[in-house]
Amino acid sequence: MNEHGLILQNAPHVRTSESLFTVMGDMIVAMAPLYVIAWFYYGPRALLLGLTGAATAWVLDMLSVLACGRRPDLRDLSAVVTGLLIPLLMPASIPYYVVVTACIVAILAVKFPFGGTGNNLFNPAAVGFAFTAICWPELVFSYPAPMQELAVAGEVAAKTAVSPAHNLMLGAIPSLDLFDMILGNAAGPMGATNILVILACGLYLLVRRTIGWRAPLSFLLVSGLMAMMWPRSPFGTFSSVGWELCSGMLLFGVVFMITEPVTSPKRGFAKVLYGATSGAVVMLFRYFGGFEDGFVFALILMNVFAPLFDRVCENVLHKIRHGTLLPKNFAPGAENPPKEKKKLPKPSLKKKTETEVGA
């Protein structure tokens, strides 16, 4: 046994078995059934769209990491998750270049300038989809009727159908009843129509603790409440709540996009605030917004205020624990060291006495 071949490592010497791969793998596993359903409804074109999205996002992410001068880490699949998320928001009859532009904007304009995987301030999939929704609204919001095989490449001749969200916007009576929408054979974005499968994936992610329960629950409560108070559909309040929640990308966004850990606040209560206000803003966008489903724009708007919620909760907690909103002589950014990173003492491997933890 070579005495000096040993590696020095820091305090907790047993670590969880999860790694980067499993964390992002959970999201991909959760999205897989949605792709299978989309493949069942719209033929192999859905899978190809997902593939192109994931490939462009991954390649661009690797290039941007190289451009930053850092070593690309192949286990980090967060770009693939964004690439898979974008096509699910779009109709299956969308041309490929739309998905590619969305991924380009998502990775290059949102993730790369702010520093890669853990530092983006906005949800990349939301910004990518918002950009394409502004560029080609007629392509992004015209949904093919389900259960028809779409041509894999070239011109897609698809019988289009009107999505429930569109009906609600015009105030018309949605042609499908609630049960059909839950089963998902309604026209709509590729991955956002089958409510049962989305809820199942959400449950799986909840149990795997990849997503928190606070933001989605408060989101659904507030949007349900607003749908109940100002119903848009002529029938009773209950059906209007059902239609509002099950139409458009609302439920899909709640499970996959609101809970994105990087852009949502870190504190538990701040997540509740974040979910509640984004629920209210989504409903406002649906009532007054220019687009059929303003979920994505509302999310981007709420990402702006996410750090604010965190800071407010932290100040309130500080008030509860220490009685004052801010520490005594709190100079933001003033008295800490100048720009270049202060060399923190290397985590000292000195004997961590048991009393330090024991007592």
């Binding site: 046994m1 000096h4 907790p12 969880t16 100079a331 950014g333 491997l349 048991e354 024991g358 007592a359």
Partner: protein, 356 residues
């Protein structure tokens, strides 16, 4: 652990060390001392005789490093009404205290009675404190250990710190480690002074992992050779699996009274400078309810103002955040180092202030 309470429950992996008996490494190294109360049965010893035996055998309590004699004197002065044996091993692999309690319950019961008598505590109020969330063990932890009631501590890691905080708040309990209790019984019965300590030798590089009674000061390499090495270890750790430290040279490294375990692992976890992907697991893992991801970011960028606002001084350095981090970042170490440097600077500022 649960959805609502922050903190994590660690997978204990205490088998097969727990169910195996304790083994004495060097039997001939036992030293006896001249016991004036040789002929009296331990049960009839008077309180001051018990403290005298503890002083003569110079027994040291391995849970907090103070000598048992001082603890008994101080507890007697304070007026204590319950004596608790500390058999809480909440760190994975480590089971040195629990092993003693499970395999020699009668001796522990006798020792608890002696201690209770020594500090004039109520003889009926003696307990053995045990960590409840240990699932994968073959022998079951009974309700009563040889007549002594078992007090169960459960919940999230670090259970031991929480238990000690509870005892300190109650102020009328005396906590003694099971190792010290065993030494007290031996000293009272056969006049053997404390030369050894109880260590768990475990890890996936050890051929047959077990609990070992070792004379204090034996080098770690000797212990590893005693238990046999299945493979060439990449890291050797002295102390607990969550709070111990990795060593570079097992030859000089000596085992002390407070060392709970010696672990050898085939490969060290690969912390190759991954980046934080912002998954937020460490925020949920911190038992003190701190947002670990933000604190690590402030510590990395040297933002002392935000460190203070986010309450870095409440961090107890338990390492749960580093445990759950999927990209193997040393969050706990960074935050605890930042806390220490912040406290040092504040002390400096006060001293500077006071000096003017």
């Amino acid at each position: 652990m649960s959805f609502f309470v922050p903190g994590i429950v660690l997978e204990q992996r205490k088998e097969p060390m727990l169910s195996r008996d304790m083994v004495m490494m060097k039997p001939d190294s036992l030293r006896t001392f001249q016991n004036p109360f040789e002929e009296i049965l331990p049960q009839e010893l008077r309180p001051e005789e018990i403290t005298e035996v503890a002083r003569l055998a110079d027994i040291i309590d391995e849970s907090d490093g103070r000598s048992l004699y001082e603890e008994l004197i101080e507890a007697d002065k304070r007026g204590v009404d319950a004596v608790i044996a500390d058999a809480i091993d909440d760190e994975p692999f480590i089971s040195s205290q629990l092993n003693i309690a499970l395999h020699e319950p009668e001796k522990i019961a006798l020792a608890l009675e002696l201690c209770a008598k020594a500090v004039h505590a109520d003889l009926s109020k003696i307990y053995v404190a045990v960590y409840r969330h240990v699932f994968d063990i073959t022998i079951r932890i009974p309700k009563k250990l040889a007549g002594v009631e078992v007090m169960r501590f459960g919940g999230r890691y670090p259970a031991e710190t929480r238990a000690y905080n509870k005892f300190r708040k109650e102020k009328n309990t005396l906590t003694v480690g099971t190792g010290a209790l065993l030494h007290l019984v031996r000293a009272a019965e056969r006049g053997i002074s404390q030369t050894s300590c109880f260590v768990t030798v475990a890890g996936d590089a050890i051929a047959n992992p077990r609990n070992v009674e070792v004379p204090v000061g034996t080098p770690v390499s000797e212990m590893l050779r005693f238990c046999g090495l299945a493979a060439d270890p990449e890291t050797v750790i002295v102390g607990g699996s969550m709070t111990g430290r990795s060593i570079s040279d097992p030859e000089e490294e000596k085992v002390g009274v407070m060392t709970r375990g010696v672990l050898a692992f085939r490969e060290s976890y690969k912390s190759l400078g991954y980046i934080c992907i912002g998954c937020g697991r460490c925020d949920h893992a911190c038992p003190e309810g701190l947002s670990a991801s933000q604190l690590r970011r402030f510590a990395e960028f040297g933002r002392r103002d935000l460190l203070e606002l986010y309450d870095v001084d409440r961090c107890i350095g338990c390492g749960s955040c580093s445990y759950v981090c999927p990209s193997r970042l040393d969050i706990g170490t960074t935050i605890f180092a930042a806390k220490r440097s912040l406290a040092a600077e504040k002390a400096l500022a006060e001293k500077g202030g006071a000096a003017e």
